[in-house]
């Protein structure tokens, strides 16, 4: 009798575990669909040194090459940057964005590396920028989340964004327009500068 009762308790316990697992999965899925709507606006970041060709370039974020390259600037103290990291890594993510690298501005190297690990950014080209010295020193940028767009190694755009897909579309569109009408892009850059 006791064995039968024990088996029943075990079965019930297993059932409870499965039930809680199902609740967890359900809440995760509801959370995904009911997430706070983020702004898709991509706004110019004032004060960045447009036209600047950096003296140094962290090799771990990829080669800027001769075309367009985008650097996303995140920070370990920025709550919205965690959301950007999630957009970059969670399905479908943006691992296919070949001309993109991530810079993580942080107070200390271990804090920045924790941020990379915690948010699964290790698979993307990235650089831990201690003190934000590279980003602030080269481009006078101390804001996250922000994006720096380079063309031929030169900073041609700096933006504040919260939606990676919207940023990517904007950057791609801007660059396509620049390819078609270089004079207009140059004039736009000069106005911004």
């Amino acid at each position: 009798m006791l064995i039968v009762l024990s088996c029943a308790v075990l079965v019930l316990a297993a059932g409870m575990v499965v039930l809680f697992a199902m609740f967890g999965e359900l809440s995760a899925r509801v959370g995904e669909s009911g997430m706070v709507e983020r702004s898709t606006e991509v706004r110019p970041l004032e004060g960045a040194r447009l036209g600047q060709v950096p003296d140094s370039w962290p090799p771990t974020i990829g080669d800027p090459g001769t075309g367009e390259f985008t650097v996303l600037v995140l920070s370990s103290v920025c709550a919205s940057c965690a959301d950007i990291a999630a957009q970059l890594t969670e399905k479908p993510g943006h691992a296919d964005w070949q001309t993109m690298g991530v810079v993580i501005s942080t107070s200390h190297r271990d804090v920045g590396e924790n941020f990379v690990t915690q948010h699964g950014l290790g698979g993307l080209p990235h650089y831990v920028d201690v003190g934000g010295e590279w980003v602030s020193g080269e481009f006078d940028v101390r804001m996250s989340p922000s994006a720096l767009v380079f063309r031929d190694g030169r900073l041609v755009g700096a933006y504040i964004f919260h939606d990676v897909a919207a940023l990517r579309a904007a950057v791609t569109g801007t660059m396509a327009a620049a390819d078609q009408e270089p004079e207009k892009e140059e004039a736009w850059t000069e106005r911004r500068g």
Binding site: I3, S6, S39, E41, C78, T106, N114, P145, I160, H162
Partner: protein, 117 residues
């Protein structure tokens, strides 16, 4: 009859089997719980303040934080219209395993300040 004989007898054998079964079930349950929960990496929940995520509950103002060894960075919230300056003084995140960090003190602390542009 003493206790030893009872447990080795017919009915006692059943009792031993029962005990073994229950002990095994309990041990299996503990092992399973250990596997499921024991190896889970403890989540480090930081302190959210505006669009900042800090190691310590903000305890100083921004101008106090921006002295000596500090790290300050600006962020915008998801709507993009609230700007905050987030500051960590010293190294409150050093070997921090739970928040607010155990090493938050007068040398290692956090602060923030938000405004609309």
């Amino acid at each position: 009859m003493d206790g030893t004989k009872r447990v080795t007898g017919g009915k006692g054998g059943v009792r031993i089997g029962r005990r073994h079964f229950l002990a095994g079930a309990g041990a299996s349950g503990l092992a399973a719980a250990g596997v499921v929960f024991g190896f889970a990496k403890p989540a480090l929940a930081l302190v959210n303040a505006g669009c900042c995520t800090l190691y310590c509950n903000p305890s100083h103002n921004l101008s106090q934080c921006e002295t000596g060894t500090y790290y300050v960075w600006e962020c915008t919230e998801s709507s993009g219209y609230l700007y905050c300056n987030c500051c960590e003084h010293g190294n409150p995140g050093y070997r921090c395993s739970k928040t607010p960090c155990q090493n938050c003190n007068s040398s290692n602390y956090s602060s923030y300040s938000c405004q609309y542009p």
